[in-house]
């Protein structure tokens, strides 16, 4: 089977998306790499600064090879945001160096431009790479942005795909690995091209609001709210942004089934959303915006009336 190369670049990030990968479970990293699933066989990590073999200039060779088309087909993954290097250049410097080539700092943006028209597919892992995230938080000292803004609207990879965003701060390892495995299955013809939402997130991961799949949603329906941290009820009055966040964590846990933000009693901070970390996702302990709650209140009442009326219908099955 034709191998698919993976080039994983790190920009203005924290390596959290890489660490989270350790917790991926179904499939685990080992599963994917050893080809437990025959159709997902043959992923090769050509470049990943935190796991790759060599160091120094030799470590940069795969980037040159990819630029020359020698690693086709390759998937380009970015973790971390992209700075506006022209700001740093005004004072003769740089914001994000990822290597040293011939005695000169090689910046992230140079490499991204080299690979722009060569990548078979491009995946932005984590909210920083997708939308700028933390690095782009006000006042955005380095002019940080997501990869879609750097590559520009209408960008298409050589397979004709837009940049696929897999946001989260960090993205649960399982979501990252399921996306990469999915893309390989697409490349192998085993699955159709994934449907994306308006923020270029795969719907199979980001199709539901955290709020809808929260184990505490039943308490909301009964009007029971936590007023003190530690209480087991709906977290809506203690800062939870679940009604504006598309995220699977309340149902799946964060790592290997453990954790989960509102489900274990902490406020969702909507870290999967393009606005993160700005309002309405923050201040993090501030009550979430009222509009989704009003909408939900109305729907809730309609739902209860419907449910009651349906009780009077004759059972047909």
């Amino acid at each position: 089977m034709q191998p698919i190369n993976l080039i994983w670049l790190q920009g203005q990030g924290c390596t959290g998306d890489t660490v989270a990968l350790i917790s991926a479970h179904d499939p685990s990293l080992v599963d994917v790499m050893t080809g437990v699933l025959p159709e997902v066989e043959g992923i090769r990590i050509a470049f990943h600064p935190t796991i790759m073999a060599p160091w120094g200039e030799t470590a940069l060779e795969p980037l040159e090879a990819a630029k020359e088309g020698k690693l086709d087909p390759f998937v380009l993954v970015l973790e971390g945001a992209v700075p506006t290097e022209s700001i740093a250049q005004k004072t003769g410097g740089y914001f994000c160096g990822i290597g040293d080539k011939g005695g000169k700092i090689l910046t992230l943006t140079e490499v991204l431009l080299d690979l722009k028209d060569k990548a078979a597919a491009v995946v932005a892992v984590g909210t920083c790479a997708a939308y700028g995230g933390i690095a782009a938080g006000k006042p955005n000292p380095t002019g940080a942005m997501g990869l879609s803004d750097f590559y520009g609207k209408g960008y298409k990879s050589t397979l004709g795909l837009p940049i696929i965003n897999v946001p989260g701060c960090p993205t649960p390892g399982d979501s990252t690995i399921k996306t990469l495995a999915y893309l390989v299955l697409v490349a192998r013809g085993a699955l159709p091209v994934p449907e994306l939402d308006e923020f270029a997130r795969p719907k199979f991961l980001y199709g539901e609001l955290a709020h809808h799949i929260c184990p505490r949603a039943g308490y909301l329906a009964e009007g029971k709210f936590s007023h003190h941290y530690g209480e087991p009820y709906c977290m809506g009055l203690l800062g939870c942004k679940g009604p504006i966040a598309y995220c699977r964590v309340p149902r799946e846990g964060f790592a290997d089934g453990y954790g989960g933000c509102p489900s274990t009693g902490s406020p969702c901070i909507a870290c999967t959303e393009p606005a993160f970390p700005e309002p309405p996702t923050s201040p993090f302990l501030q009550k979430s915006p009222v509009n989704p709650w009003i909408r939900e209140g109305i729907l809730d009442n309609i739902g209860k009336v419907k449910a009651t009326l349906h009780r009077f219908k004759r059972r047909t099955i």
Partner: protein
């Protein structure tokens, strides 16, 4: 006649983040003569935190590091507790500690097995130090009967990336630790439930039980980890690597794990509750503990920018701390450094995005001057041993007993007494050894705290959070320990918003550049004068530089190491492939929770 060569290493792979080293070596004398270390990425996190509600820093500051976010959460929440005057109830403190401890066991396993250990694996040794490897193959491991590796050579094979059984066990232990941290912290990386006044987490006894089950695995793992690394590192130390990466015993630890019944978030009582930490705070100069007073320690912190891409702080805003102790203009409560990108590799001028933390001996315990200090697990263990404040401290060692327990896949079921002794040298090998012992000591402290938490539940002390009223103005400092050393955050709140926020990480101390007096930071100092032990064929690979820097553990996760791109690691993998599969299968069976293991797998593209 000196035969000089220069070495630029960037990316310095297999660490967290972006960093480069420029080293000069004398091939004739076989030693490194100079070194400059530099950080190559800037985001401006402190500026992003300013102007927001102070509590937001608990979430934002963690994003500094995805490998060790917890100590940022801890330092931040302690600083905000203080600024808000929001002391947590005992169970809230205990639950914060449990989340913190889970990160230490995940990170310790990762550091020993995946980051640093492979520098001494068979595949690396066969290229770098083939003679030592030859001898290792013929040397019995003193604890072989207990951990199951008959010779030192067997241990080195166990550390081979991807295929080695120790490597895989360590990755599995990391995964278990991340699960425990996510359990207690809602998620990890980036805990979501530290709030001023306690934790935002519903206390569920079933979750504590799951955490305890994870801990049992970590304890069983830790017994073998320490014995394996003891055998390996003592052998290497006796066989030519003892001189690599020496830094003088100038060390600090902020201490860790606040006592649930003493911590009250008040600066006026910080000396008192600081001393009650399970691991005490302290500063060691020239091998002597000069203070264990958190207030004295934090007042002495200075951050300067002589060789860093920032403008200096013009003047002090606060002449003293709230207790009247003098603050300099470079103390983090005063610090107002401004970033400005500058030219690269300007060794006489500015050359790094890292700032330069130093500690001022303001009470004149030694000489009344500033000192270059090293953060690390070895610093923590050293302070704990000397301070004599914890039951496990003997004055020259830290001695503790891990409980008995039978966990499938691990050999040692009986209890095991371990003793970490202050070493003769603070070198690369001893920093790795201290990390292995710290994993065990963390597991031991965690065990004690889980039992204490059960006791609290029996007594009905189940409250996890105290309500507080947010004041308009306040000031706070929070200190904690990451696996790789001390972290501290300073916050100043005006009109309900953060007007200044400063963070100093362990790697900031260690990777710091030359200071205003031209003294190198710990990484630089440890490389300078380090011998070249590698067997050189063609170009200098810099293994001793890399070993030195990795011994400080500059962050990061799953790393696979190999010598060169065509390297022997893949060959090693093929050879050992069957063995790897067996180990993987074994893990799968052992693990009822389905948390097998994972490993990051390297296939080179050529």
């Amino acid at each position: 006649m000196a035969k000089m060569t220069e070495l630029n290493i960037e990316p310095l792979t297999r660490i967290e983040g972006h960093m480069g080293v420029h080293a000069k070596a004398d091939l004739e004398a076989r030693k490194y003569t100079n070194a400059y270390c530099y950080a190559t990425m800037f985001r401006g996190l402190e500026d992003i935190i300013k102007g927001r509600e102070p509590a937001d820093a608990i979430w934002l500051s963690q994003r500094a590091c995805g490998v060790c976010p917890m100590p940022h959460a801890m330092a931040s929440v302690l600083a905000v507790d203080m600024a808000y005057d929001a002391p947590p109830p005992p169970m809230g403190i205990a639950m914060r500690n449990l989340a913190a401890m889970a990160e230490e066991v995940y990170d310790g396993a990762l550091g020993c097995g995946i980051l640093e250990g492979p520098d001494y694996s068979e595949v690396i040794m066969s290229k770098a130090n083939p003679e030592i490897l030859g001898k290792a193959n013929k040397t019995d491991a003193p604890n072989g009967a207990k951990h199951g590796y008959a010779t030192i050579g067997d241990i080195m094979r166990g550390l081979n990336p991807i295929s080695g059984s120790i490597w895989l066990q360590c990755l599995n232990a990391s995964k278990v630790g991340l699960g425990m941290a996510s359990n207690m912290g809602a998620k990890h990386p980036h805990l979501n439930n530290f709030v001023p006044g306690g934790v935002a987490r519903t206390l569920e006894v079933t979750d504590l039980e799951a955490y305890y089950a994870g801990l049992a695995k970590e304890i069983a793992f830790s017994k073998e980890l320490v014995l394996i690394f003891d055998d390996l590192l003592t052998f290497l130390s006796d066989n030519g690597l003892a001189e690599v990466g020496i830094f003088p015993p100038n060390l600090f630890s902020w201490g860790m794990y606040d006592d649930p019944y003493t911590y009250d978030a008040k600066y006026a009582n910080m000396t008192k509750w600081g001393e009650k930490r399970a691991l005490p705070p302290g500063i060691i100069i020239n091998g002597k503990l000069i203070t264990s007073d958190l207030v004295e320690m934090q007042v002495g912190v200075q951050e300067t920018v002589t060789h860093s891409y920032y403008h200096d702080t013009p003047k002090a805003e606060f002449a003293t701390d709230p207790l009247g102790n003098p603050l300099t203009k470079d103390h983090p409560w005063n610090e107002k450094t401004k970033p400005e990108a500058g030219a690269e590799k300007d060794w006489e001028g500015k050359y790094t995005w890292a700032k330069t933390p130093r500690w001022l001996d303001w009470k004149n315990r030694v000489d009344g001057k500033t000192h270059v200090l090293q953060a690390n697990p070895i610093s923590r263990m050293w302070v704990t041993a000397l301070a004599g404040k914890s039951p496990e401290s003997t004055g020259t060692s830290v001695k503790f007993t891990l409980p008995a327990g039978t966990v499938a896949g691990f050999n040692i079921t009986e209890e095991l007494t371990l003793e970490w002794k202050i070493p003769a040298l603070n070198n690369a090998l001893e920093r790795v050894r201290a990390r292995a012992y710290y994993h065990a000591y963390s597991a031991y402290q965690t065990y004690k705290l889980v039992l204490a938490a059960f006791e609290m539940i029996k007594k009905g002390e189940t409250k996890v959070w105290n309500e507080y009223k947010r004041p308009r103005n306040g000031i706070g400092v929070g200190t904690a320990e990451a696996m790789r050393g001390g972290v501290a955050h300073w916050v100043v709140m005006k009109n309900g918003k953060t007007s200044n926020y400063q963070m100093i990480t362990p790697t900031a101390w260690n990777v710091s550049p030359r200071d205003d007096q031209g003294r190198p930071g710990p990484y630089e100092a440890a490389i300078i004068d380090s011998p070249i032990t590698e067997s050189i064929e063609g170009e200098l690979d810099g293994i001793d530089v890399v070993r030195t820097i990795r011994s400080f553990d500059p962050c990061l996760g799953c790393t696979v190491q190999v010598f060169n791109p065509e390297g022997s690691m893949l060959a090693g993998r093929e050879l050992d492939h069957l063995h790897a599969e067996e180990v993987l299968e074994q893990h799968e069976h052992e693990n009822e929770h389905g948390q097998g293991h994972c490993h990051l797998h390297h296939h080179h593209s050529h």
